[in-house]
């Protein structure tokens, strides 16, 4: 059959962010997928290196709006790892509250968007209606609906006002009955089952091979979660469960996210109720030379930061490895062979976002790919050899 290329993006209602998926299709069947990103590249790592350690949190926060807590969380942990210090107990709890609040709103957001991709706009509206309440909670606690500006190396920037806690708890409690209803509705919906089950299969082996993270891997039976594997924040102080399913398909990912929301609600509530007193900040004055790593289980999987300090007040090197970067290649395993309609929801199922994933491929003006990752590495190696030759180094 004749092959044609359908491009999704860079501006497409499927995505809030610009990126380009080139689906090679035969009729309605996708045979190959290629991802072209770079529409969102802002050179964050370099920007971070020109800010001081404290200011960097704001750049890092703006890697992405949905992980606007996850990145600062991982970053501050990396900086604290350099010194090394343990943040005060109250700060740990506050960090956990903000991070889990973000997970709830992120998963609700995903549900809404997934519904939207399936033409099920009612789910989109219903879910985002709940999300509004969570965003209100975030606004009460942190002063903004997104980009919370709460994290700083050594603790948190702002305290949670104890007067606000009852209101926040009330708002969280208020969404639970509706969430229950929607959960049951989603789990029972025969059309959703027909659309989501058995598509976009990522087997356990593939999940391991591709190093899939977060719900993408947990839906394939890989029980991995930084919050459990190497607890930090207040995650070892509260009781919660890791959600793992074995179904490996898009449905599994949806179920994982659905159930994870409940765990997050549990964590946020426990933390708010048991918020310990004390300091919220260590007032770190200087960062010694050295290097540190920090990880945080973002809504989409482990986010990882590496920071090197040379003793000045700026990071000498800051490296970000975000979850979508690892999840994106799994599309190679899941998309080919599906139909165009399924492809969109499979793409959506990893909850993709590229703000943090911007890497490089070279294309000609006409969009023909000239160099991919492999070629670029080869070119780089050749150039290094050439330079070495010129400099007379063996």
């Amino acid at each position: 059959m004749q092959k044609s290329v359908i491009s999704i993006g860079p501006y497409h209602p499927l995505q809030e962010e610009p990126e380009l998926f080139m689906l090679t299709v035969e009729g309605e069947t996708v045979v190959d997928i290629e991802v072209s990103i770079g529409y969102n590249h802002r050179g964050i790592e370099k920007l971070s290196e020109r800010c001081n350690f404290d200011q960097s949190t704001f750049v890092i926060e703006r890697i992405c709006g949905i992980c606007s807590t996850s990145h600062p969380f991982a970053y501050t942990r990396a900086v604290e790892d350099i010194i090394p210090v343990e943040v005060p107990e109250r700060a740990r709890y506050i960090r956990t509250i903000i991070a889990e609040g973000e997970r709830i709103h992120s998963h609700l957001l995903w549900y809404g968007l997934a519904g939207h991709f399936l033409g099920y706009n009612t789910v989109y509206m219903w879910m985002w209606k709940l999300r509004e309440e969570i965003l209100d909670v975030m606004e009460i606690l942190s002063g903004n609906r997104n980009n919370y500006a709460m994290f700083k190396p050594g603790g948190v920037r702002r305290d949670i006002n104890s007067d606000d806690i009852p209101l926040a708890l009330k708002k969280i409690d208020a969404i639970i009955p509706t969430l229950d209803r929607l959960k049951k509705a989603i789990l029972d919906d025969p059309v959703l089952h027909a659309r989501l089950k058995g598509i976009g299969i990522l087997t356990k082996e593939e999940a391991v091979d591709y190093c899939a993270l977060g719900p993408t891997s947990r839906a394939s039976g890989v029980a991995r979660d930084v919050r459990k594997d190497a607890p930090y924040g207040a995650y070892d102080r509260v009781d919660w469960d890791m959600i793992v399913t074995e179904s490996c398909d898009v449905w599994g990912k949806a179920v994982v996210r659905l159930l994870e929301m409940y765990e997050s609600i549990k964590i946020v509530k426990t933390c708010l109720q048991n918020l310990p007193g004390g300091e919220i900040d260590l007032n770190i004055k200087s960062i010694p030379p050295g290097e540190g790593i920090g990880a945080h289980e973002a809504p989409r999987g482990e986010t990882f930061h590496y920071v090197r300090s040379d003793g000045t007040n700026r990071p000498a090197r800051h490296k970000v490895r975000a979850s979508t970067f690892m999840n994106l290649p799994t599309l190679k395993a899941t998309v080919p062979g599906s139909s165009i309609s399924d492809a969109t929801i499979i793409l959506a199922a990893i909850d993709p976002c590229y703000c943090c994933t911007e890497r490089m491929a070279v294309r000609s003006r006409e969009g023909k790919k000239l160099y991919g990752g492999q070629e670029l590495i080869r070119l780089s190696q050749e150039k290094t050899k050439k330079i070495k030759r010129e400099m007379g180094i063996k």
Binding site: V5, G115, G119, Y120, T122, M125, D189, V191, L192, R195
Partner: protein, 312 residues
């Protein structure tokens, strides 16, 4: 004189003008009910009209690769077909004006808007529009089969009549087979309207409005108008064929309006509580599930007719 009456009927009442006005009102009902089901307020009453006027005032861009004449005429063909259907239906219901076989003509005419969308999409030369057009084609093939069986049942139940006037007199819904075919026809109409779960052809998040992708300005306005008038005409068709037609004497007016609104709301609620199915699932659904059920209903109706059991 006769001819002026038909021209009047086609252009003003119950043809173009009337259909368009009530059609736009129906789109408003659609959007309002959608919004309310989603906990929203929804658009103001005049919104569909504003949208239409605005589109008329916008620039019309014509894709470079496409065929200009086909691209521009497709929407008009679709619209004219719907207006014709509407005129025939209303004339039959109101004044009993009818000709033999008008049911068949209506059924044929109702395919034309979908064909127009397809042709327009193909003419724009956009790969996504082409995909949309090919999906539309598959969808037509899918829903026409059960739809035609339903129509056969209707003809059978109304005493082998293919005149709308006579069909409208028999409320077919009053029997088991009648209920079955009415429900099936409702789903077919959902597909004809291109509503979720059968909006595969314009699936915005998959193929960016499919056939409409390259349309802007006036032709887009005409397409929107076609959709609006369809939203008015198809429920009326349903009422005529299954629910005993329109009645405008005394309380009948209220009853008619209620019937119409009920069907409209039903369609909209179905649209809003379902995800979109895949095209292959849609085809399967219509062929493997609805068509056999429709056939069974037909058989029931045949038995009913032979043994004169009215509730079959």
């Amino acid at each position: 004189m006769e001819i002026t009456r038909y021209i009047f009927a086609f252009l003003i009442f119950p043809g173009f003008l009337f259909t368009v006005i009530v059609g736009l009102f129906s789109t408003w009902v659609d959007r309002k009910v959608t919004a309310r089901v989603q906990w929203r307020v929804g658009p103001p009453l005049m919104q569909p009209l504003y949208d239409f006027v605005k589109l008329l005032g916008k620039e019309t861009l014509i894709p470079a690769g496409g065929s200009r004449a086909v691209f521009l005429s497709a929407p008009i063909v679709g619209l004219v077909a719907v207006i014709l259907v509407s005129t025939i239906l209303w004339l039959a219901n109101l004044w009993g004006t009818a000709f033999v076989g008008d049911l068949i003509v209506v059924v044929y005419l109702l395919v034309i808007p979908s064909l127009a969308i397809m042709i327009g999409g193909l003419a724009s030369g956009n790969p996504l529009a082409t995909t949309g057009a090919s999906r539309e084609m598959k969808l037509i093939l899918a829903y026409e089969l059960p739809f035609l069986i339903c129509m056969a049942t209707v003809i059978l139940k109304s005493g082998m009549s293919i005149k709308l006037v006579e069909i409208a007199k028999t409320p077919i819904i009053g029997s088991i087979s009648g209920v079955l075919v009415a429900l099936i026809a409702l789903l077919c109409i959902q597909a004809k309207l291109g509503f979720v779960p059968f909006d595969v052809a314009e699936a915005e998040t998959e193929i960016m409005s499919g056939p409409y992708i390259e349309y802007s300005g006036v032709p887009l306005a005409v397409f929107k108008l076609t959709q609006a008038t369809m939203l008015f005409t198809l429920p009326i068709f349903l009422i005529t064929a299954f629910l005993g037609g329109l009645n405008f004497s005394g309380w009948g007016i209220l009853w008619t309006v209620l019937k119409y609104l009920a069907i409209l709301v039903l369609i909209v609620v179905i649209k809003n509580t379902n995800p979109r199915v895949r095209i292959d699932q849609a085809v399967k659904f219509f062929w493997y599930y609805l068509a056999p059920v429709a056939a069974a209903a037909f058989v029931l109706a045949v038995f009913g007719q032979i043994y004169a059991i009215s509730w079959l």
